[in-house]
Symmetry: none
Subunit: 292 residues, 2 copies
DNA sequence: AGCCATATCGTTCAAATCGTTCATTTTTAG
DNA sequence: CTAAAAATGAACGATTTGAACGATATGGCT
């Protein structure tokens, strides 16, 4: 929950003296507010942001009410993937949590966490699945675990200002894959956008209505499963037209979008991964800055 | 209408102890008037002004008018539902989070939070949806928001001991409703079980495999949507037999299970809501205690 | 009006935090 | 390598905070 922490809690959590923490607050290295009586109070997300920026690791993370556990060594990306994959298959949420939060604190971008770690782990699990090495329930449980972890990561992400451009997105009817669109939301938030995933399995009509009501600058569509290609293309056409009408950028991505289907679609960007998407929107933000 | 707030409400809203708030009032840091009997009353605008002056997080004005704590009176539960419903429809995650965490901190059981607050709010939203008062994307977004909040709640729930009995469950293929099975998991954890939701849309065969591998004491099946009744019954029969084989209790529930379908099923418990389920498993735990 | 459950009152007290100073350790620069 | 500069951790009295207590006020009810 979003309650404020006392300097003592934070100092013990990150393994530093109270005096130093106070100095850091006073120098603006960590954001802190004051009580009416002058005592400092720190928000969890600000502490995490500081840890991430300075490359520190929490010693005693339970004090932060965070799911982070101390990790002595910096794991390589390959090790992280291996541990994560094993943990997810075994249903070891604790382990998965530790791996992902450690990566986050080690300044790994959410793009890479999504593309190269979670995406790769889920790909390996899917592969084992088709080899009958893991049961479907293990794959689904892995998705559930990742979803919970991403929700927690999402809760401690620095809040983006109200003035940031809005991005919305989701998946269409017949596509129940939550993780990709959730990762898009997180990656866009890290890139400074006010991103909101509307969820999965949405009819095209209501996505059009959402564009009309919310008037985002960007709309993303994650496509991991297509039940009927003609129906999908028709739904997509509807949405593309509406996006054009309201001057909304439209970005698409997902494993189900093969070249043949893409040829019959129009969009501002097709993204193979989160990195592509973030690069695309970064360009847009820069252009906007130049214009102003 | 200048609503007057009690010190307790304000203290909870801004996350400070009641004693400190009283001192601040007495030192003139927050404007407050007195009732004839000497009790302090604070105006919303004065509290907001104080928050702005002390650099604390600016809170939504509507947030401060939230009635907090008052244990389990119908009125406040009604208010919680009203605020939650409005927040979910508007996509105001902050408000929804506040409402649900306040309820949790006020010691409202997760059963009641699920049954009487979230369940009721989602029912109202569904009703408005069929009246075309809210868009489908608003309903889906509400589910997403609730899911994120429940993930966070789940993370701060006390951990159950390893010795606690294991319960697993989920939804069958064709049923993508996450919230019910997620709420079951949380309610069972609160009741002292080691509960793990395996997710949604699972084939019956892999649920059988999960029972065989994990050997839980309890299996729950949440049924919010049935695509084909005969196929569902066949899948269910498979699972029931497997549960019998391994001596696993099986509890079912969900809006899609009408009397006609129930007549063709066998189970240890049918639960209309979370309260029923928790009462059922509490009986089991007590019996086990007696046995030991 | 009187009753009752609950909230708030004022007060006290232990624990935490404040700002500050100072000795020690670590980093930087010549 | 050495000396200056900077950061750290510990200590100090003064102040603030949060939790407790019995007594009183509030608001709903009959």
């Amino acid at each position: 929950m979003d309650q404020s922490l006392t300097p003592k809690q934070v100092a013990q959590a990150i393994g530093v003296s109270e005096a130093s923490l106070k100095r850091w607050c006073d120098r603006g290295l960590v954001r802190a507010v004051r009580t009416a009586g002058g005592h400092r109070r720190l928000a969890v997300e600000d502490v995490l942001e500081f840890l991430r920026r300075t490359g520190r690791r929490p010693l005693n993370a339970e004090l932060l009410q965070l799911p982070v556990v101390r990790s002595a060594t910096n794991l390589t990306l390959e090790d992280s993937i291996r541990h994560l994959t094993a943990g997810l298959i075994a249903g070891d949420e604790e382990l998965a949590l530790r791996v992902l939060f450690d990566l986050y604190l080690a300044k790994t971008s959410l793009c890479d966490i999504g593309d190269r770690v979670i995406g790769e782990a889920m790909r390996q699990i899917g592969e084992k699945w088709s080899n009958h090495d893991v049961e479907p329930y293990q794959e689904r449980r892995a998705c559930e675990i990742c979803g919970h972890i991403l929700s927690q990561l999402r809760a401690v992400l620095p809040t983006v200002p109200e003035s940031a451009p809005l991005a919305i997105g989701g998946t269409l009817w017949g596509d129940a894959y939550r993780l990709p669109t959730l990762l898009v939301e997180l990656a866009l938030r890290e890139a400074g956008w006010r991103a909101e995933s509307l969820g999965t399995g949405l009819p095209a009509e209501t996505l059009c209505a959402a564009m009309e009501t919310l008037r985002p600058k960007l709309f993303w569509l994650s496509v991991s499963n297509i039940e009927s290609v003609p129906a999908f293309l028709e739904s997509y056409k509807l949405m593309y037209e509406r996006a054009q009408q309201f001057n909304i950028l439209i970005a698409v991505g997902g494993h189900a979008l093969n070249a043949e289907i893409r040829c019959q679609m129009q969009y501002n960007a097709f993204c193979d991964n989160l990195r592509h998407l973030v690069n695309f929107v970064a360009g847009f933000l820069a252009a906007k800055h130049l214009a102003v």
